[in-house]
Amino acid sequence: MGSEALAFYAFGAVAIAASLLVIAQRNPIYSVLLLIASFGALSGLYVLLDAPFVAVIQIIVYAGAIMVLFLFVVMLLNAPHEETEYDERVHPLLRPGPMRFGACLALVLAIELWWALARGVDTGAFPGGAVTSVAVIGRSLFTDYAFAFEVTSILILVAMVGAVVLARRDDPRERRKPGER
């Protein structure tokens, strides 16, 4: 067994184990942290598939930005444990509502995967290597899409100003006097 196959099995095992543990946790914080582990393992698989750009994006966007968002929401909701509406002894996964919904989603995903794999992968439309190289992506980002890139900076500036306007604390020196609406 080559080192690449070894790495594949290692990353695959971590990804599957972490994903299973995500749904088996009672504490949402643990779930979120395990999801990060799962994403990290996935990004390792992307590296093995010669897609370093996707791997890095996976870490930055999913494991970085989106998971931080999740963590914030979980902490803001202040819910260290899932709602114990049902009998505590029944495992969360075995309770009726989430189980049915999750089972439906899993079934849909399984059918999709089976359908996609049964059709075989037609790679003819996507020449391999051309778009995966970080250098190529970087060059096209700063030449063909230079203007779009600059517009994005204005977009982020607007988002930042907007977030500050909506979230900042009132300056006490400019606060309204009591009685004034």
């Binding site: 100003v161 907007g162 306007v165 020196r173 004034e180």
Partner: protein, 478 residues
């Protein structure tokens, strides 16, 4: 490709003014009054100057921004929208103690995004411009943080807007998958080859793009956010977003559908036909039963979106010119009407019920007269500009063979007169014991409204010159 910067000068001026407003706010002492709106006026005047210089030059920057006359006409409309909105914002910002620097900065950034949306010739850039505009407008909607209605409006607008952006982006992705490009000219050449036998993917892309644009122009059935957002936002912001967003979105809508997807017109015109009919009918019929003036004007604005869709579906030279002229007159008129509402607001009362307008003629004859001009123009009475605009739209529809749409348009216009005149009757003929107590009218805001009214009457009586400009705008492209 030499990256000429000329075409982006107007929006760069406005964006620079936005940054200047931000920086000015940072240096403002608490409680100090600073003429931040003046910075915006300077930026917009610079943009106007650049627009005049660029006229007829067909400048293009980076291959994705094209300052053709069509885009420049809309840019000019947006500059007027920006100037008038800045003019009527003063009292709102003062009274509500809004953060002035951020308020004006966001308004200017949104204007820059709108200008980019009107001149962009690449789906990716159109999407980015749409987001710049939308994000700023979401925040402006919710900028009255201590008002639950404002926050609710902003939240609804944001959620539905994000959803619509996703549809739009999905449409772009499918188009890219089909054409391998996001530039409109390349998409057009590919679509021309596929027009005879379109694949389901093309329908999917078209449908998703129509949903995305339909949301931004508040076409029925994607209009749900409109009344709440227009009612909850401060009236000056409503004036800005009901006109600017619509103008920019329609400009991009026309550009994308009448250039990139022009070869497929036979496949999408039916869908837009139905959107136009539904939008005109619902906007008018639901508008009739509103008792809140802001909600009423929101439905009126939905209805006006329907008339613009009629011009779009007509698609002939007449119709494209009609879109431009209609956007200009609608923008000036609607800002005027919401400006009057903004001036009537007091810290204690919003004064936005129809009954609040009773006896306004006795209290504030000037405001009542201005409101009358705006409402009559919205209803399409000669000699106001709204009449000429509607007349052009309907004759474009008849020329293109859409007589049915023209009939629906005329009928809904007649019905809409009912709710516009209801306010006029309230103001002049309904005596009341408790007349509205509105604060003194600031000079700049009053002057802005007078200028809008003069423009409306001017465009109504002597529209030829501007109509010629509109005609010249569409002859250069498409």
């Amino acid at each position: 490709m030499t990256p000429s910067m000329n075409a982006i000068v107007p929006m760069a001026c406005v964006a620079a003014a936005g940054i200047a407003a931000m920086v000015a706010e940072a240096f403002r002492e608490p409680g100090e009054r600073m003429p931040i709106a003046g910075l915006g006026v300077v930026g917009l005047l610079g943009a106007a100057f650049a627009t005049v210089l660029l006229w007829n030059h067909n400048a293009s920057s980076f291959g994705v921004v094209s300052a053709d006359n069509f885009g420049l006409f809309v840019t000019g409309t947006l500059i007027i929208v920006g100037l008038l909105s800045l003019g009527i914002s003063g009292p709102t910002v003062e009274r509500e103690k809004l953060p002035a620097g951020e308020y004006y900065a966001l308004m200017l950034f949104a204007t820059a995004g709108m200008m980019l949306m009107a001149t962009a010739t690449d789906l990716l850039v159109i999407f980015l411009a749409l987001e710049v505009m939308s994000l700023a407008v979401y925040v402006l909607t919710g900028i009255r943080r201590d008002s639950p209605a404002s926050s609710e409006a902003a939240f609804k607008y944001f959620l539905l807007g994000a959803f619509a952006s996703a549809f739009f982006l999905y449409g772009i992705a499918f188009t890219y998958g089909l054409a391998g490009a996001t530039r409109l000219d390349r998409i057009a050449s590919l679509m021309a080859g596929q027009a005879a036998s379109p694949t389901p993917m093309i329908y999917l892309a078209l449908g998703l793009l129509i949903v995305g644009f339909g949301f931004k122009v508040a076409a029925v059935p994607f209009h749900m956010w409109t009344p709440d957002a227009y009612e909850g936002a401060p009236p000056a912001v409503t004036a800005f977003m009901s006109t600017g967003v619509k103008a920019a979105a329609f400009a991009a809508f026309v550009r994308v559908f009448l250039s990139a997807f022009e070869p497929l017109r036979g496949h999408w015109s039916e869908a837009i036909w139905m959107l136009a009919a539904a939008t005109m009918i619902l906007g008018t019929v639901v508008g009739v039963v509103q008792s809140n003036v802001k909600r009423m004007l929101a439905y009126s604005s939905i209805g006006h979106g329907g008339y613009l869709l009629v011009a779009l579906v007509s698609g002939n030279d007449f119709g494209k010119g009609a879109v431009l002229f209609y956007l200009l007159t609608y923008a000036i008129t609607n800002i005027g009407a919401f400006g009057v509402i903004a001036l009537l607001e007091t810290p204690d009362r919003k004064n936005d019920q129809v009954s609040d307008y009773a006896g306004l003629w006795n209290e504030r004859p000037g405001l009542a007269a201005l409101m009358t001009i705006f409402l009559l123009s919205l209803g399409g009475f000669p000699p106001m500009a709204g009449f000429i605009a509607k007349w052009y739209v309907f004759s474009a529809a008849v020329k293109a063979g859409y007589t049915g749409l023209a009939i629906i348009g005329v009928l809904t216009s007649v019905i809409s007169v009912f709710f516009y005149l209801r306010i006029v009757v309230m103001m002049y003929m309904t005596p009341t014991d408790t007349p509205v107590q509105c604060p003194a009218i600031p000079k700049i805001a009053g002057l802005t409204l007078i200028v809008s009214a003069i423009l409306i009457v001017y465009l109504g009586i002597l529209p030829t010159r501007v109509l010629d400009w509109a005609a010249a705008s569409i002859s250069s492209i498409f």
